[in-house]
């Protein structure tokens, strides 16, 4: 048996060190990691995946700790992936979210793994999605992905989750903030954490107004990361859909108030997660979601591979510097170079017979 086969076997047998090792291989893109991940797929699909995001200091880690504790009390096993930024200069990172996972220390059935944003071009979201698969295959019942909601990358990551909770701390801006595009749109559940603070009521009210505005605007589902197909399927303007879709459920994003430090509201939040899960299954959206996720994985992989091949070609041709210098000298321009470099690829692709085996 090869080392990787052994590792896979150990992971499936529930050995923590093997799970940790597999996640490292995924993060490092170590030789053979792809075969390992593709073996994992057959063992996945049982875990509920929950994304938790929000601005820095919103209380994500503390809340995740309480969620994990409550799931454990109910006899379920938990995996947590905590994502922190890495330095754009050195690649270094301080991954500090473990500190607040205090309620569950010593309990190996809560498996906390910190990840930094070390990859590029969708690398982090691929690595996260693959780490989720490792935890799923390991047998975790609930997997929580915690990430700062600062940029597009994080939005990609929460797409890995079935249910996304967005934490909105009290007093996080006037109502115009709720009109802006971004992380508020991806929420399946809003959490006003630190609900004992001044301004919590107002924040709840603003979110409520926003949700109502969404519904009044004819958007099914009240936000959330719905694919266009689902929105279309729920579109009451299409008379042909009326028969099938008349009693179709829609999801109204609930607002849950919590005080994570004291564990208040955590049960309500778990209930909201369970409701959303139920909605996903009943409405058929879950299948849609999973399909969309796999489509995205395929695209990302292809993109990464093509990117790597191009980097290799560029390196073989003496690197990008000479080309850049030629542009600087006014001899050519980036568009012409791209056309030249890719011309043979285009020819190849035209000749290629698509093989769907």
């Amino acid at each position: 048996m090869s080392a990787d086969e052994e590792l896979l076997e150990d992971l499936l047998a529930g050995k923590h060190r093997a799970l940790a090792r597999v996640i490292s291989k995924i993060e490092n893109r170590s030789p053979g990691y792809r075969d390992l991940v593709s073996e994992l797929y057959a063992h996945t699909g049982d875990a509920d995946v929950i994304g938790v995001t929000g601005s820095p200091g919103a209380g994500k880690s503390t809340l995740v700790d309480k969620l994990a504790e409550t799931y454990r009390d109910r006899g379920e096993t938990v995996g947590v992936i905590a994502i922190d930024p890495s330095s754009p200069f050195t690649g270094g990172a301080v991954l500090g979210d473990r500190i607040r996972m205090a309620s569950t220390v010593g309990d190996m059935d809560v498996f906390v793994r910190s990840m930094s944003a070390r990859g590029t071009l969708g690398g982090l979201s691929t690595a996260t999605a693959d780490a989720v698969k490792a935890m799923d295959a390991f047998g975790k019942d609930k997997i929580i992905i915690e990430t700062v909601g600062a940029g597009q990358n994080e939005i990609d990551i929460v797409r890995t989750a079935d249910t996304v909770a967005v934490l909105v701390p009290p007093g996080s801006g006037d109502e115009i903030q709720t009109l802006k595009a971004g992380i508020l749109e991806i929420a399946d559940v809003f959490v006003v954490n630190k609900a004992d603070r001044d301004g919590a009521d107002r924040t709840v009210q603003e979110l409520r107004d926003m949700i109502q505005l969404d519904e009044g605007g004819g958007m099914a589902g009240g936000g959330g990361h719905h694919s266009q197909e689902v929105i279309d399927a729920h579109d009451d303007w299409d008379p042909e859909d009326d028969v099938d879709e008349a009693d179709a459920e829609t999801w109204t994003t609930p607002i849950v108030e919590t005080v994570a430090t004291r564990g208040e509201g955590v049960d309500d939040l778990l209930e909201a997660f369970a409701d959303h899960r139920q909605y996903l299954v009943d409405s058929g959206e879950h299948a849609e979601q999973v399909r969309g996720r796999y489509a995205e994985e395929i695209r990302t992989l292809l993109r990464e591979d093509v990117h790597d091949m191009l980097e290799d070609r560029l390196a073989a041709a003496g690197g990008v510097e000479d080309l850049a210098e030629a542009v600087r000298q006014g001899e050519t321009d980036p568009y012409s170079i791209a056309d030249d470099v890719l011309a043979p690829v285009e020819t190849c692709l035209e000749d290629l017979e698509i093989d769907d085996g």
Binding site: H16, R17, A20, E27, V105, R113
Partner: protein, 138 residues
């Protein structure tokens, strides 16, 4: 595929064990490691040996740096080493100790598997250099 780029990064757990409540040194090391391009997981204060073992195993760190000023290193560090062994992680984890550890206790800790001990006055450069040279190949 041949063109896949490996993206290995040295992962370190900087840990505080036991009752001592001074973590300025641990913060300085965490920051210096970060600036050296390592991925640093900080444990927080007042951790039990089992908690540190759990974190080291789950995070699959290459390096475990333990800062200890309380004088309880003789009891706490062997517990951590035993815990790592239990999970099969002792072999390929570089364990370092820092803080106040008297000369006469060092041989015993090294016999337990602690790779190096950095006392007061050690420069961070020296520590980083040691990690770069000795981080386990996996």
């Amino acid at each position: 595929m041949s063109s896949e780029q490996e993206q290995e990064s040295i992962r370190c757990l900087v840990a505080k064990v036991g009752l001592d409540g001074h973590d300025r040194g641990a913060h300085v090391i965490a920051r210096a490691f970060r600036d050296a391009g390592f991925e640093v997981i900080y444990s927080g204060l007042h951790k039990a040996p089992e908690e540190i073992v759990q974190a080291a195993v789950q995070e699959d760190v290459d390096v475990l740096g333990i800062s200890i000023l309380s004088g309880a290193h003789d009891t706490l560090l062997p517990k951590i080493m035993d815990g790592l062994e239990e999970y099969g992680a002792k072999e390929d984890t570089l364990v370092l100790a820092g803080g106040v550890i008297p000369e006469e206790d060092r041989a015993e800790l090294k016999a337990e598997g602690v790779a190096a001990i950095f006392g007061p006055g050690t420069s961070v450069e020296e520590t980083i250099e040691f990690v770069r040279e000795n981080a386990p190949e996996r």
